[in-house]
Amino acid sequence: MRVLVVEDQPKIAAFVKGGLEEGGFVVDLYGSGEEGYAAATTESYDALVLDIMLPGRDGLSVLRGLRERGMTLPVILLTARAEVNERVEGLNLGADDYLTKPFYVEELVARLNALLRRESGEGTNILRVEDLVVDVTNREVKRGGLEIELSAREFTLLVYLMRAPGRAYTRSQISEHVWNTHFDTGTNMVDVAVARLRKKVDGDFEDKLIETVRGVGYRLKAKQESR
């Protein structure tokens, strides 16, 4: 999951970025409204964490711009206690949630997870496909009741695929959202990583959950019954 953070105060920015990375996100960070807007409109992100008070173009203006372009990505506003009017305006403009400073970064991670969960139509922070269960909050993976040990990267990859079971992702999408690659690497990193993940998740099971879509990329097997 790739998150864009726009925050001008270096201390808060570093702590938000660190917290999100610990929570399994990959993060791009910008310190001004202009840069943030440019990044949001030219790169693809799964969510946006946006400070309201920014030098130059402020957060509300960025938000308005994005929504006017028809971009629907989830947005969490960071606001100061006194900025009640701005908060209301932000929510009216299409922000999905807000946090008042000071806040715990765990809360931000939890709220982001909640937003992404709603996006993918899940009810809890526990993702399920067949007998594969991923607890996003506690970073636990179980298949058929047995715990599976995954590296941080493998976990992020699995969660990315599990947010939308049945949806196929191209290799470049995966590499962008899981590795946050900005430049060409000329490697088959995605294939190698998926192969390893497959070994751990599908290895001994009859039912293979990670599927290769020919000519496209990879996906997680669609759920049997769709709600």
């Binding site: 970025k17 693809s44 900005h182 000329g186």
Partner: protein, 472 residues
């Protein structure tokens, strides 16, 4: 190296020596001539008296007495004379006579008729008419003598004096000058060095400032301060040049920023549209395959664009970094996982020695791209079943990361070329656009670090070294 200061000192010392030498020679020559003229005049005083008075019956002894009378005892002791009759036969020779001048050959010596003393006016009535006096300089026994011949039609007197002794102060001055000259030259040379240094000092200060300025950025200018008028011109010209540079740089920079935004935005829109279309397309359909192919191609375009944008920003010295303090040792553990994953595919062993607790101030997203690039290169250009050695160490203010592999060594002459843009190694193995290492180097430089090809470690011939300033 040619030193302007040294040249300046040598030239000014040389000129000074020349001037001093010429001045010394001319001065002593004038002094000598003046002495000669005075001696001639002095000889003339007595010679003229004899020439206007003496007849054929001249008496030598009386003449000697009258000489003492005229010159005084002391000076007369220095003088000598001979009296000759009209046929040139010697009538008298004074008690002191120069042995070296024999017989009648006194006029045969080296003559020096110039300068001639002024002959006093015509003799008073009743006196004899004097013949034009003649003067000679002769050398005898290693010393020079001045002889004057005076006389009338009947008697000639040859009167002489030691010239060297008479003009000994001139010789003394010459000698003193020769002795003093080297000392003076040395002093002048030292003075010239000092002056040259003083003269060049403002230029040195200027060039130091210019160095600082070119490191700091194009918006810097030299201060006029209280610079001398000669340097104001240089400062003005330099500042004008910087202003022009800045202007064109900013234009180019704005162009590439605008261009990249203009290019990236439609790509992003296309990507969004394609992603939605891909999500809705039927499984296994032709549309699904086409959409995803387009998506991958689009992603590639966007990355190349990002690379070019970063390179153009680097050229303008304006790479945008969001730096934070990170534990490099810890990050590397994670990043190495990716590398190890790639390595495993080709049965390459990754050996890592990471010193713990090395903190750097860095943009972790950018730095990750660099490390990823180094590791994927180490896999790509390695031999199947080879090794990758990854070492992190910190010494004082510098963190050093070496990533070495057992592939084909980089030729000495290619050590810099691998960082060139669009460089492709000879064997045709190429990644993307061939921008990887040049990008990596620009990112590292923007962090105030360096990236270069190092020497092999532990049998791993290809080694790239990344150095970054640490924070305590």
């Amino acid at each position: 190296m040619r030193s302007f200061r040294l040249r300046l000192a040598l030239i000014s010392a040389g000129i000074s020596v020349l001037v001093l030498a010429v001045f010394g020679m001319v001065a002593s020559e004038f002094l000598y001539r003046e002495r000669l003229a005075r001696l001639d005049a002095d000889l003339m005083r007595f010679g003229y008296k004899t020439a206007t008075r003496a007849g054929a019956n001249v008496e030598g002894d009386r003449t000697e007495r009258s000489m003492v009378e005229m010159y005084g005892v002391e000076v007369a002791g220095e003088r000598f004379f001979a009296l000759l009759d009209r046929h040139g036969r010697e009538i008298h020779r004074s008690a002191r006579w120069l042995e070296a001048i024999e017989g009648n050959d006194y006029p045969a010596g080296e003559t020096e008729l110039d300068p001639q003393p002024v002959v006093p006016g015509p003799p008073a009535r009743g006196m004899r008419r004097a013949v034009e006096p003649r003067f000679y300089t002769v050398t005898a026994g290693g010393e020079r003598y001045r002889l004057g011949a005076f006389g009338n039609r009947e008697v000639t007197m040859v009167l002489g004096s030691n010239l060297d002794r008479y003009a000994k102060d001139v010789a003394l001055i010459r000698r003193a000058f020769l002795i003093a000259l080297p000392g003076a030259v040395l002093l002048i040379a030292l003075g010239a060095v000092f002056v040259a240094r003083r003269a060049l000092r403002p230029i040195e200060v200027l060039s130091e400032r210019m160095e600082v300025i070119s490191a700091e950025g194009l918006d810097q200018r030299l201060e006029m301060g209280n610079a001398d008028v000669e340097f104001r011109k240089i400062i003005k010209a330099y500042n004008a040049m910087m202003a022009r540079l800045e202007k064109s740089f900013n234009q180019a920079n704005r162009f590439s920023a605008d261009a990249s935004h203009e290019l990236k935005t439609p790509l992003a829109v296309m990507q969004g549209t394609l992603e939605r279309a891909l999500g809705k397309s039927e499984d296994g359909s032709e549309a699904q395959r086409v959409y995803s192919e387009l998506l991958d191609e689009l992603a590639h375009q966007r990355r190349v664009l990002s690379s070019l944008l970063l390179l153009s920003r680097a050229d303008a010295g304006k790479v945008a970094l969001s730096k934070e303090r990170i534990d490099l040792s810890e990050r590397l553990e994670t990043w190495l996982e990716d590398g190890a994953m790639l390595a495993e595919e080709r049965k390459i062993r990754v050996e890592s020695e990471l010193e713990e607790g090395i903190d750097v101030e860095a943009d972790s997203v950018m730095l990750q791209q660099v490390v990823h690039n180094l590791l994927s290169n180490a896999v790509k250009y390695n031999e199947e079943g080879g090794r990758i050695i990854c070492r992190l160490s910190g010494s004082g203010e510098v963190a050093e990361l070496s990533v070495a592999n057992t592939g084909q060594a980089i030729k000495e002459e290619d050590r810099e070329r691998v960082f060139e843009r669009f460089y492709r190694s000879g064997d045709g193995a190429a990644d993307g656009a061939g921008l990887g290492l040049s990008l990596a180097r620009e990112i590292v430089r923007a962090h105030g670090g360096e990236l270069y090809v190092g020497d092999s470690i532990d049998g791993a011939a290809v080694c790239l070294v990344l150095r970054l300033p640490t924070v305590l």
